[in-house]
Structures are given as structure tokens and as C-alpha cells.
């Protein structure tokens, strides 16, 4: 699996430019199973990126953990859930010194969520790198009830909180780390267009 190429979109939609080594800088690297391969590729391009890297892996297999341990990062943590990972992440970022970089690799949900979290601690957007790997599922905020639905793969989809049928906009909030979902049949209740898979 390689880096995802997205079609051009509106200016609020994030662009994931891919991970590029900044040498042995202080860093926090967050990845899911698909994103772990991006970290491996990054280390292959420059092994020194791992010298001061704290890895945080979310829901990955034991084989992946072993593969990344072999890259000898300064530390490696893992959590089966995003919630658990958030606690570890907060502890890492809260005391990070300026100059620390954040590398996010994996789904749009993961990238958006951890970038937003880091910015709340004061990390500048220009200290964040990201690379999209794996599923093109989106993390969606329902504009009506504000609930977040993870891993949305179809357009329209049903809000997991209020049950409205929402269409998927490309409009993205970096603060929320989510795309916007808006009621698709607001003007003509019940008139719902055919469901299609979300494409890159």
C-alpha cells in the first residue's frame, strides 16, 4: 500500500504531502496499521529520524509492532483504541519542547484528530507532517447534532447520533479534525440520492 493520491478539492480540504525526514529531530509519530508502513518508509529514507522519535501505534498487529521496534525509536507505545492513544499522546505532547515535530500517518480520521489535538497544546501547523495511507474513510461531524461519526465510507451516510441522512462535504475543520456532514433530504424529506462509495 502506498501514499493515497487525492483529486484536487477546495482550499479547506487538507493536503497530505507525505512524510519527509528532518534528521534526528525530536518527534512524535502517530500511525495506524496502514500508516505504519509510511513510518517504515520514512526510516528507510533516513534512519536517524528514529533517534529522538516517540512512536504511538493505534490498533496495529504484533507483527507491525515488531517491525517498527526494529527501527529502534527512542520509545514505542501502543494502544488498541484511539481513546487510549489520546491519553498517551497528551502526556507526550504536554511537555514537549519547541522544535518537536508531529508525524501522522494513516487514515484521514487519525491525521485530523491528532493534528487537532496537538494544535490545542500549541503546536504550530507547520510542525506537523502527514501521509495518508489505507482506507479513504472519513471522520464526519454532523452539522445538526454535532456528533462525530468515524470511518464513513459512503455518501450519503446515516449520522450515528441523530440518525439524519447526511451528505459528505469536502469542507474540513482542522480544529475538529473532521469533515462536515449536512442533511441530504432537508428540503424534500425522504428524497435520498443513491448511496455511493467515497472516492479519493
Amino acid at each position: 500500500m502506498t501514499q493515497t493520491r487525492f483529486s484536487p478539492s477546495i482550499p479547506s480540504r487538507p493536503v497530505y504531502s507525505g512524510l519527509v525526514s528532518c534528521g534526528s529531530a525530536l518527534s512524535i509519530m502517530v500511525a495506524d496499521e496502514a500508516g505504519a508502513a509510511a513510518l517504515t518508509d520514512l526510516a528507510r529514507s533516513d534512519a536517524s529520524v528514529m533517534d529522538k522519535a516517540h512512536l504511538l501505534l493505534i490498533g496495529v498487529s504484533q507483527a507491525t509492532v515488531q517491525e517498527l521496534s526494529a527501527l529502534t525509536p527512542r520509545s514505542l507505545s501502543q494502544s488498541p483504541t484511539v481513546q487510549g492513544a489520546e491519553e498517551i499522546f497528551d502526556a507526550l505532547i504536554a511537555h514537549a519542547a519547541i522544535g518537536t515535530l508531529l508525524f501522522c500517518a494513516g487514515s484521514e480520521g487519525l491525521i485530523g484528530q491528532f493534528s487537532a489535538r496537538a494544535m490545542r497544546f500549541g503546536l504550530s501547523p507547520d510542525a506537523i507532517q502527514s501521509e495518508h495511507r489505507g482506507s479513504v474513510a472519513r471522520r464526519m461531524q454532523c452539522v445538526h447534532c454535532k456528533g462525530i461519526t468515524e470511518d464513513v465510507t459512503t455518501d450519503p451516510f446515516i449520522c450515528g447520533h441523530c440518525g439524519l441522512t447526511l451528505f459528505v462535504r469536502d469542507h474540513f475543520s482542522r480544529r475538529l479534525g473532521a469533515f462536515q456532514g449536512v442533511c441530504v433530504d432537508a428540503e424534500t424529506p425522504g428524497d435520498i440520492p443513491e448511496t455511493v462509495e467515497i472516492r479519493p
Binding site: S12, H144, K146, E187
Partner: protein, 350 residues
């Protein structure tokens, strides 16, 4: 000037109405018989006595009812007013600007007494008489932005300047056209406007940003923007789209004159002194097609503008579905005669 404040609603039974005086002073946004985006900026305040451009913050017959409607919207969804932590100072700047302007321009309704940071604010139309300490938010019932914008018509965005861009970091937004403050707060100028079609490609936002960054203290400006709304509804938020959306499809040839409204935004731009932020008040004016067509010049012009508009814009402004009905109705008021320059109605139009 004595002015009766209307007792009216902007939801449910929709008793909103414009007096003949309010129609005559309506900020009609078209200065020619066609429309395309432009930056169309003028100095503000500045305009003939009685126009909405005369004073910094226009107070009209809808004031008290509009504020009541805002309070209902906020009671249902407190997130319509947000201020990221670094924007409190800009909130105080805005509070000062509005209080000083209103007390100066409408002394019979508003009074501001200042002794150092000990301030007393009297708002007679709303029955407010509050004493507080300027720059100390604990002395107000809400944060400074929310406090003052619960007493000022129109939406308010506060933009923080950094990295050569403007960031929508605070706002009171209860009468917007299709954008969510809760979603957009924290976005820069280009991200915030990303969903607007065509304008980005036309370079409108690059020019607009360049202009806004150059707005200095002591100089303020305005521009008019517009859209169309079915029913005199202020809360046309995406948040409640599923509630008001069906009304958009309720337009018929019989009711279009009364139920279809031209919605005009009087947008103004102010550089705030202490925070160096920009205040971007967006004041909303509503007038039904029927009211507008009492001014022959506006009837003719509106017909031509809406008939010939770019289809993408009709779609974005949300009236494409009703466009044929609207244009049919307006054609009754267009005899093909030439229209005079400028936005104001002809003197004989009353």
C-alpha cells in the same frame, strides 16, 4: 426621531414586516441590472440621513424583535457564539466600539458613562442598565463578545491577523447564510470561504484579503452582499437546515410575492485598537418581493438580475429551485424601461 419597535417573529408564524419607511430605506444591493461577484467596497459610515449607511451600527424598527430571536437561537444552541481563548481582548474592543457608537448616534436610546474602567451601560429599548468593569469579564453576565452582540443586530465575526492571513477565531452567528460558526471557527480566510463557488478562481478572495489586511484604525468600510430566503427567517443555519429546508419548497406563484425575501448583508470592516483584530459585522436586512416592487426601479432591476444570473450562483445562493417562479412574478414589474444609476429608489417611487 421617534421610532416604534415592531413586535414580530422570525420563525413559526413569521409576523415580521417592514413599514413603508423601512422599505424605502432598504439597502438594495444592485447598482446595475446584472450581477457578478465584486469587491464593491465603500467607506463606512457615510450616507444620507435615514439610510442604513448613516451610522456605524444601524438600529431600525426590527431591533428588539431581532434580539429576542437571537436569544431563542442561543438558548437552543449555545455554540452559535464562540470565542477562542486569545480573542477575549478583541471582544472588549468590539464592545467598546458598539457602545461608544450607539451612545453617540442614538443618545435617546443608549447611554454610556465611563469613569476609568468603571462603566455603566444603559440600553433603553431592551431595558438594560448594567455597571461593570471594562476588561474584567467576571463583571458581565457573558463574555464581552456575547454580551454586546446580544444587544446588537446582525452577526459578528472577529478575525485575528497572523501569518499574513485572517483567522475566524470568534463570532456571534445566528443569522448566517449556510455556514456554521462551530465548524468554521479557527479557519483562515481561504478555508472559511472554501465552499463559495467561482470566487476563489476569480481571485476575489486574494484581493479581499489584501484589502482587509490593509484596513487601519480610524478607517472602516462596507460592502453589500445578498442571497434569497423563503420566509423572513433569520436562523437559516446549516444546524437547523433540516427544520427550515422544507419551507424552501413551499413557494407557489400565489405566495411568492409575500414569502420570497431578498436577504441583504451589510458587511462592515473595522480594525480594532487593543487586539489589532478585525471586526466583521454582517447585518441582515430582509424585504419581500412584494415590498421591493413598490419601488418601480427595484422591481425592474431585480427581475433582470435574477433572470440573467449565472446558474452556479443561483444554486449557491440557494434559490435555483424557485428561480422560475420568482422571475415570472418579477416580470410583471418590468416594463423594459431603463433604470437609473445607483442603488437608491427613484424619488417618485414612494
Amino acid at each position: 426621531m421617534t421610532l416604534q419597535f415592531n413586535d414580530e417573529t422570525f420563525r413559526g408564524d413569521y409576523t415580521f414586516h417592514n413599514s413603508p419607511h423601512a422599505v424605502r430605506r432598504f439597502p438594495f444591493p444592485f447598482d446595475r441590472d446584472s450581477y457578478m461577484y465584486s469587491v464593491n467596497i465603500e467607506q463606512h459610515p457615510g450616507g444620507a440621513a435615514g439610510t442604513p449607511f448613516e451610522f456605524a451600527f444601524d438600529v431600525d424598527e426590527h431591533y428588539v424583535s431581532e434580539m429576542r430571536d437571537r436569544a431563542i437561537t442561543l438558548a437552543e444552541d449555545a455554540q452559535r457564539c464562540q470565542s477562542l481563548p486569545h480573542m477575549e481582548l478583541a471582544g472588549w474592543d468590539l464592545l467598546e466600539l458598539i457602545m461608544v457608537s450607539k451612545a453617540r448616534d442614538y443618545p435617546h436610546w443608549f447611554e454610556l458613562t465611563r469613569d476609568g474602567n468603571a462603566w455603566r451601560w444603559i440600553n433603553k429599548p431592551m431595558g438594560v442598565d448594567d455597571s461593570f468593569t471594562f476588561l474584567d469579564a467576571s463583571t458581565l453576565p457573558y463574555g464581552p463578545l456575547e454580551y454586546i452582540t446580544r444587544q446588537a443586530q446582525g452577526d459578528f465575526a472577529l478575525l485575528n491577523e497572523r501569518d499574513g492571513n485572517l483567522w475566524l477565531d470568534a463570532g456571534m452567528i445566528t443569522s448566517q447564510a449556510d455556514w456554521s460558526l462551530d465548524f468554521d471557527v479557527g479557519m483562515n480566510f481561504f478555508e472559511w470561504h472554501a465552499p463559495v463557488p467561482k470566487a476563489g478562481k476569480m481571485g476575489v478572495f486574494d484581493k479581499a484579503l489584501k484589502f482587509l489586511l490593509a484596513v487601519n484604525q480610524g478607517q472602516s468600510y462596507r460592502r453589500l452582499n445578498w442571497t434569497m430566503t423563503v420566509n423572513p427567517r433569520l436562523d437559516t443555519s446549516p444546524e437547523n437546515y433540516h427544520k427550515w429546508g422544507p419551507e424552501k419548497r413551499s413557494i407557489t406563484p400565489d405566495n411568492v410575492g409575500q414569502r420570497q425575501f431578498l436577504r441583504v448583508e451589510l458587511q462592515t470592516f473595522w480594525r480594532l485598537p487593543r487586539s489589532n483584530a478585525l471586526a466583521f459585522p454582517i447585518r441582515c436586512y430582509l424585504a419581500s418581493l412584494e415590498d421591493l416592487c413598490t419601488q418601480p426601479k427595484w422591481g425592474r432591476r431585480l427581475h433582470r438580475v435574477l433572470r440573467d444570473i449565472d446558474p452556479d450562483l443561483a444554486d449557491y445562493k440557494g434559490f435555483a429551485v424557485n428561480q422560475p417562479t420568482i422571475v415570472d412574478y418579477l416580470s410583471n414589474f418590468d416594463d423594459g424601461a431603463p433604470t437609473s444609476q445607483g442603488i437608491y429608489p427613484d424619488a417618485s417611487g414612494a
